[in-house]
Symmetry: C2
């Protein structure tokens, strides 16, 4: 990936001792001037304090900075949590010489602990002193929690300029992002000039096809958010080019999150076709993608098409099972609702040993289709989540 | 449990070599005369051949026998599967000297394999020769698959007579039973006289509060069915007594299935209160009960209330998080949406070490409440399901 900076933005990260392990855990991105800023937030009705404040502040369509910590979600923390988010963003705003309303907070980590505001405030000067145009790598590392790797994606716009995306997320991944409300976090930075209304609509559309179409464990977080900034330092892209860049970057980040899903070894794209509508296909692909029996079969590299069909059948969407087809990585294993035999399944099982593959499920002759990204689920997922807080 | 027979019914089981391990795998229950018979079946639209045939035959409201095999679900097997179910029930009917339409088939096991009809037919004479009034214990053993123990429950009716229930189920447990369509299997036998319409309505109502309110892995089977028989050898119970007996027996069987859930160590009753309606409370309790992060926390004996609230919040039902309360086994850990502290959580964690407990989630002052049974999810679940077919 190219490592050019995005004109108009600087990045920094430091260790503020929010995490117990001493890793960098506080990140800051600052625009040189007020940027156009839009966001989508979790539709979970239990929303963290930073999510509430970010949503309020982004109503203006403008922002200057985003302050992100890992190690503490600052969710279910009531008024003390809200005060901590206000205090920390105010301190950073003061150091930057800007209004507090221009600093957007975001948090990720354990639910139910109040953000230790004094540690963030103390780390402020070091954080701001470290701002550089190529600091996004450290930014991407500081926001990780159970992630095994940081997540960055980039697209160049044909009209000039760049779209850079930074995300974190490995567990509690089943984003349900919507306006006006988003623990995956994703931050997008572009120097291309995009006015607010167009940016907001294009971002929501891209989220619907990427973050909102991926799952690790089916659990939607209290802290999910995607926030996008434009510095207007490069020409304005066409709608098509903007959409392609947003879908490209968000799609790369979503796939990286699922690949890095807690305990994950494989990424499976569940592509459902032939239903009456894309929304029907979305429901079926999501039901298959979140099925525990499907996910454990993928962990076992077992071409268990019975579980795939059984999951499709319980989605509540009508189809004729006798015309169903299933192919794994292009290897047909079911036609007309019936198994094609052991040899086909053995060839499909070879595909299931690969790190990523597509499972195509045909359920009729309708035009409705949708793809959902999911992961296998095995022992490591249990290890990570049975002892996460201890 | 009392071991008296149920007047008018005999039971048998044998090894028909459907399973590879040589265990008994074929069970038969026969009424001395035509019995009133009603059933509820899976709402999964991918339904096994025996489910289709059972639903057709029970339209008459009468049956004489139920023939059940483990080791093969006979699901997704098309016309050959249907023929196998027809052939085997016809052979048993012939031996019994009754019409084939009076024999109800049921199957459980791997999806996608056709029932080996010739082995069932060969085992017929031994099966029928073994019928005895106290054969229900062997019947209950023969229908097990990944079950660790057989499941029986019984209630005596105040007006006289008995209701005996026999069930199997440990995985792919998230029943969604409805008229006219249910791999949990449950068979209920009563000598109390209950006419068809009343039996059917009371059975559906009991299922809604028991089997349809329990989950192991969120996956609804292609083969679930509950079939109830009355031999009319004892007096007719009141509606209240019938409902109490059905809910009692089905509730015991549902709890036993969850306790025996694949890899399960704990049974948790998720009781949600204070919402506008029972159906809202049902949606929230089901969302919490099926949350992977909740289930892995229960495996870890971690009083992780943040995951409980986050799951409730994504259910799509409105509530005010700032009034939320949570108690585990009577130990309050959250009030007014905020944690009560480490000491409370440590006491709650002691409750979580017990084999069964209740988690109460209060979400307001409404009258709507509902209880859902769920299990913890740990390494054994992964072991059972990553290698089930191999």
């Amino acid at each position: 990936m190219s490592s050019q900076p995005v004109a108009g933005f600087r990045f920094s990260a430091t260790a503020a001792n929010i995490r117990k392990d001493g890793r960098i855990d506080l990140a800051l991105a600052v625009a040189d001037e007020d940027a156009t800023a839009v966001g989508v937030f979790t539709r979970n009705i239990v929303r963290a304090a930073p999510v509430e404040i970010a949503a309020e502040r982004l109503r203006s369509g403008r922002a200057r900075a985003v302050l992100v910590n890992s190690g503490c979600a600052n969710a279910c923390t009531g008024e003390p949590g809200r005060q901590a988010a206000l205090t920390t963003t105010a301190a950073v705003a003061r150091e930057l010489g800007i209004a507090p309303q221009l600093v957007i907070p975001a948090s990720t980590g354990v639910i139910g602990q109040v953000l230790p505001a004094e540690r963030v405030v103390e780390a402020g000067p070091a954080l701001i002193g470290g701002l550089t145009a190529d600091g996004y790598d450290r930014f991407s590392q500081a926001i990780c929690t159970t992630d095994r790797w940081p997540k960055l994606a980039r697209r160049e716009l044909p009209s000039g300029g760049t779209l850079l995306g930074i995300a974190k997320g490995a567990g509690m991944i089943h984003p349900d992002l919507g306006p006006p409300h988003a623990t995956m976090l994703a931050f997008l930075f572009t120097d291309a000039a995009v006015e607010r209304a167009r940016f907001s609509a294009a971002l929501m559309d891209a989220c619907e096809r990427t973050f909102n179409a991926c799952t690790v464990d089916g659990d939607t977080s209290t802290n999910d958010c995607v926030i996008a900034f434009s510095s207007h330092r490069a020409p304005s892209p066409t709608d098509e080019a903007l959409a392609a860049a947003l879908i490209g970057v968000c799609g790369d980040l979503a796939r990286s999150m699922v690949a890095d899903g807690e305990g994950t070894n494989h990424v499976a794209e569940i592509r459902v076709r032939g239903l009456r509508s894309a929304s029907d296909a979305r429901i079926v692909s999501r039901t298959v993608a979140t099925s525990l029996l499907v996910k454990t079969a993928l962990f076992g590299k077992d071409a268990n098409w019975g579980r795939l069909l059984a999951a499709a059948g319980r989605a509540g969407v009508p189809f004729d099972p006798s015309v169903a087809t299933i192919a794994i990585g292009g290897v047909p294993i079911v036609e007309n609702g019936l198994a094609l035999g052991k040899e086909a399944e053995l060839r499909a099982a070879e595909v299931l040993a690969q790190p990523s593959y597509t499972i195509e499920i045909g359920l009729g002759s309708g035009a409705g289709e949708f793809s959902y990204l999911t992961s296998d689920l095995g022992h490591s997922y249990v290890d990570v989540n049975a002892g996460y807080r201890s």
